[in-house]
Amino acid sequence: MANNENPTLTVPVGAEDHIEGAENSEVTLVEYGDYECPYCGDAYKIVKKIQKEMGDKLRFVFRNFPLKQSHPNAEHAAEAAEIAAADGKFWEMHDILYENQNALDDENLKTYAEEIGLDAEKFGADLESGKFEEKVQKDFMSGVESGVNGTPSFFINGVRFNGSFDYKSLLDALENA
């Protein structure tokens, strides 16, 4: 059987994804992440720095991979970002969540929604009804099937990156991709 050391994305980057960066970039970095995971918090800062460094050469995609059993607020945080996405504000919410990783309960989420200019009432209702639960679950399953093995998991041009995600290692891998 084929080994599973270098699995590839089973769902290619497409219209349903949240994409930052130029369409015709040289390299695509996909992250499966959890907003409550401290390692993802580290990765957030590193990716920001790499985006700055690489500019238009890099396209960055974020997919949800909430580890609900380990992180009780991760699921709602992921749904919050999806609710924001429906108003074109995914990245604003994504950033605010990672900058406030220790305060992600529902009340906190509502505060962030207001801060980025979402309708607070509608946001609360969407969170309550689990409007984007299915979308989050779809991301999660696509991750499992693609060989996501923990958070964060990175894929460079569709292939799982097994190296360390410190700034230099990740930048090197992207520049040599």
């Binding site: 059987m1 080994n3 599973n4 050391e5 699995p7 380990s70 499992v144 093995n149 923990g150």
Partner: protein, 171 residues
């Protein structure tokens, strides 16, 4: 190290402690592979409790337990740690799966499956999917520092369950 057992081979039977004894004098709770016939079994051998990579690996499996259940499968972690370490580790991380102690004689089951690292004194990071008749359907040793994820486990389980469906349909 001996060779890892391969798909198609019979999974060697074993009995291991699966939980710490709660009160002095109680009989030690044990797990018998043989008792799992009729159900698919996933064995996840890992080097040690508490280390970062296996933490993540088991956290992922903990998340996927309902999906394994849907494929008529149960997952068990195995390492050479004692059941007391396992118990504390499970509680600390909130893991729901059973963790088996390949502790005494140390690594005996890991050796039977060909996944013991003599030079280190612990198990490889290895996966086995065993079908309901006790036959190994998938085996894999991952580089020790790479968490192998769950994609191949789920793929194998789906294949097994697919065959089951065909049998039931009289094909």
């Amino acid at each position: 190290m001996s060779e890892i057992l391969k798909a198609g081979e019979k999974a060697p039977d074993f009995t291991l402690p699966c939980r710490a004894v709660e009160a002095a004098g109680d009989e030690e709770p044990t797990f018998l592979l043989k008792n799992m016939r009729g159900k698919n079994v996933v064995l996840a051998f890992y080097p040690a409790d508490w280390s970062a990579v296996c933490g993540d690996q088991l956290a992922l499996y903990n998340e996927l337990l309902p999906m394994f259940e849907k494929q008529n499968a149960e997952l068990f972690g195995i390492s050479v740690d004692s059941e007391f370490s396992h118990e504390a580790f499970r509680k600390d991380r909130g893991y729901k799966m059973m963790l088996l102690s390949d502790f005494e004689p140390k690594g005996e089951v890991s050796k039977k499956y060909g996944v013991y690292r003599d030079e280190d004194g612990f198990s490889e990071r290895a996966l086995f999917v065993i079908d309901k008749d006790g036959v190994i359907r998938y085996s894999y040793v991952s580089p020790i520092d790479v968490n192998p994820g769950a994609d191949q486990i789920l793929k194998t389980l789906k294949e097994i369950q697919g065959e089951e469906g065909e049998k039931e349909n009289g094909k």
